[in-house]
Subunit: 405 residues, 2 copies
């Protein structure tokens, strides 16, 4: 038999039958729990007792959850303030309001909503601060709803608040095929005559080329390639890589150019995948003297939506942005690209796909979806003959296998 280390549904300690045969069985909900930092095997689908809506919160019956790069960083423990494990993962979801807590106004049971959560979204049921919940437009599907919050709010704020994108400008976007990348390219289409330079893995070039003017593999000397097209550089650089890409990005700016850092995925895809790769990335980034920016007419900045919402309390500002995005959605101006939708039990496959940068657009989880049937693999020799890389080997080891389902 193949190994089955990864998500098998297991009851949480609290949800175990208490031995009193006369009591009705406790209602339980499934969730994707990170049991400790590390590889995919740290993810388990567990059952826990149903909760109720807390004060100021809404209980949401989840219909779809978004996966984001920060989820990968959380799993590996390479974010600045890692949570205590075990913890239910996930920062966003869509669903239906099932309960309204005390001191919670503006919502009622049955409302179709999206919500930002500071963890806990990857569950059948979640209680969310009403400040972070937004009623969806009637014409929005739950999948689109779950695909929109993190990626489109980030993309909107980067482009229209911080970079102040205008007609005729050019920008460089890394990971242009990813969730934020596809959101950025769609939002750029709402502005006249914008030139998008993108980096992405070669396998995504075909899929993203419709919205990207010039696309390069991230491993080529993209700065040099861009200079061949536009010798003076670009107006805007949106960087989710960090590390050496930061220095390259700032250098690539035209006069009046704006460089914005909104992620640090080099940390996760780096070879060591550890705190040390984070530290290395930090040191690779050159500090900038504001006087240099004054001499060069440049702007640099950074954006992190989770911090804005959960540490800095800027939900009012985010609500304004969400309202604008909903209008754009209803007007058909944006339409989230969904890469794939996965059952909770398939979360490892979903996450591996994102880590391998094979997704084009958003990766979603659906708590109501059935796990995909998987072939029962024969027992493998100690070293797989077709293992091409360490990453793939890890994937093989951790691939969840369902018994004959």
């Amino acid at each position: 038999m193949a190994e089955t280390q990864a998500p098998t549904v297991e009851p949480a300690a609290e949800a175990k039958p208490d031995g009193d045969a006369s009591a009705p069985p406790a209602k339980v909900v499934k969730s994707v729990v990170l049991t400790g930092f590390g590889g995919l095997k740290m993810l388990k689908v567990q059952q826990k007792p149903e909760m109720t809506a807390a004060d100021g919160e809404l209980l949401i019956r989840v219909r779809a959850c978004g996966m984001n790069f920060p989820d990968l960083m959380v799993r590996q423990g390479v974010i600045d303030t890692p949570p205590k494990t075990p913890i239910t993962m996930g920062f966003e979801c869509s669903g239906i309001v099932e309960g309204v807590g005390e001191n919670t106004t503006g919502f009622k049971v049955g409302d179709r909503v999206i919500g930002f959560t500071n963890y806990n979204a990857w569950a059948e049921l979640v209680s969310v601060n009403a400040n972070h919940v937004f009623k969806m437009p009637d014409n929005m599907s739950f999948q689109d709803g779950a695909a929109l919050p993190m990626n489109y709010v980030t993309a909107y704020i980067l482009l229209f608040d911080m970079a102040n994108l205008r007609k005729g400008q050019s920008l460089l976007v890394h990971s242009v095929g990813g969730g934020v990348g596809t959101a950025i390219t769609q939002l750029c289409k709402t502005v006249e005559d914008v030139t998008v330079f993108g980096t992405a893995s070669s396998n995504k070039h075909e899929a993203v080329k419709a919205n990207v003017s010039h696309i390069f593999d991230h491993n080529v000397d993209y700065a040099q390639e861009i200079r061949k097209v536009t010798a003076e550089g670009v107006d805007i650089v949106l960087d989710c890589m960090c590390g050496d890409d930061t220095n390259k990005g700032i250098t690539l700016l035209k006069p009046m150019g704006k460089y914005l850092l909104y992620g640090s995925s080099n940390i996760v895809t780096g070879e060591t995948k550890s705190f040390f790769s984070f530290a290395k990335s930090w040191w690779q980034v050159d500090k900038v003297n504001p006087i240099k920016l004054f001499d060069e007419n440049k702007v640099i900045g950074g954006f992190q939506l989770r911090r804005l919402l959960f540490n800095q309390g800027q939900h009012g500002y985010v609500r304004e942005v969400i309202e604008k995005l909903f209008k754009m959605y209803s007007a058909g101006k944006i339409n989230p690209t969904i890469d794939s939708v996965w059952a909770f039990e398939d979360v490892c496959d979903a996450m591996q796909k994102m880590q391998d940068r094979k997704n084009v657009g958003k990766v979603l989880l659906d708590p109501t979806a059935e796990p995909k049937p998987k072939a029962v693999e024969p027992e493998k020799p100690a070293v797989s003959a077709d293992a091409e890389s360490g990453d793939k080997q890890e994937k093989k080891e951790e691939k969840p296998v369902q018994d004959g389902k």
Copy 2:
């Protein structure tokens, strides 16, 4: 007799009569020439032969010229790329087109225009690259025209391109009574519900209070005072001081806040007034790691209009901004505050007023104005009894004196 070191009109070498009594006298024009770096005594009003419009340029009969803080820095030689002296000073003027060079289109003799110049504006006649010349609205006076280019273009780009000022936001503006400061406060009035915190010398508080919500002396702990009003800080800091104000400004930012450096006048008003004060200011400014901006959701940047125009060739972008400003002017939304208008011969008084930070709004020179009558002062003792400061002493020593005019 009092000393008369400062601007007396003297013929330039080239303009001397050549001894041929039958030739008509060469036409000459007056200009304010910096003869070397240093104090006010380095400024001379000189005559030079009339020039013609060069290729791609327009010859402008100057009606008013703007004085800016960079002029003070040039005089002291504390800018990054000081010009060779002697040089006619000045970066902006208004006037009437008197000649159109070859390969110059879009203008005709008699057009009322404003122009940016890389030096040479403080003259009766100047030849200007047509890319840097703009036709004034019919209802704009020459004084308003000369007051507008440097200050309002800087203010507009800072507020509406880089900081992206929105309804309900707050900002801190240093030297809020100066040329750029008054332009910033006027432009802020075009956006709903903006709170302006300003620093200015106490003597200006009364004059600027109509457009400033909270005003502080720059020497008080303004950051602490602002925190008393708004504990979380401000959305935007516009800093023309540099040095320690840079560090304070970045710290004062709210989440999503933007700090913009657009000048370094601490260098000029510092005690040493030398390259060393520039170097000191550089070292006082903390370098910033972009990852810190990512952690804090902040943006920092710098803006320098002269560099944008004369080194980075962005006149097309500046033309768009000028067009927007002209529309605002014609609609009565902006109206330059003129502090004072001076004859070329009074340039030292004008510059001293700006260096002492006594101007409220724009200081202009008018090549057609008569010098102000000045009392002939009695010979002074070696040390003036009422000298209150080094600055004032310098002023007294260098004050131009006209004989009985």
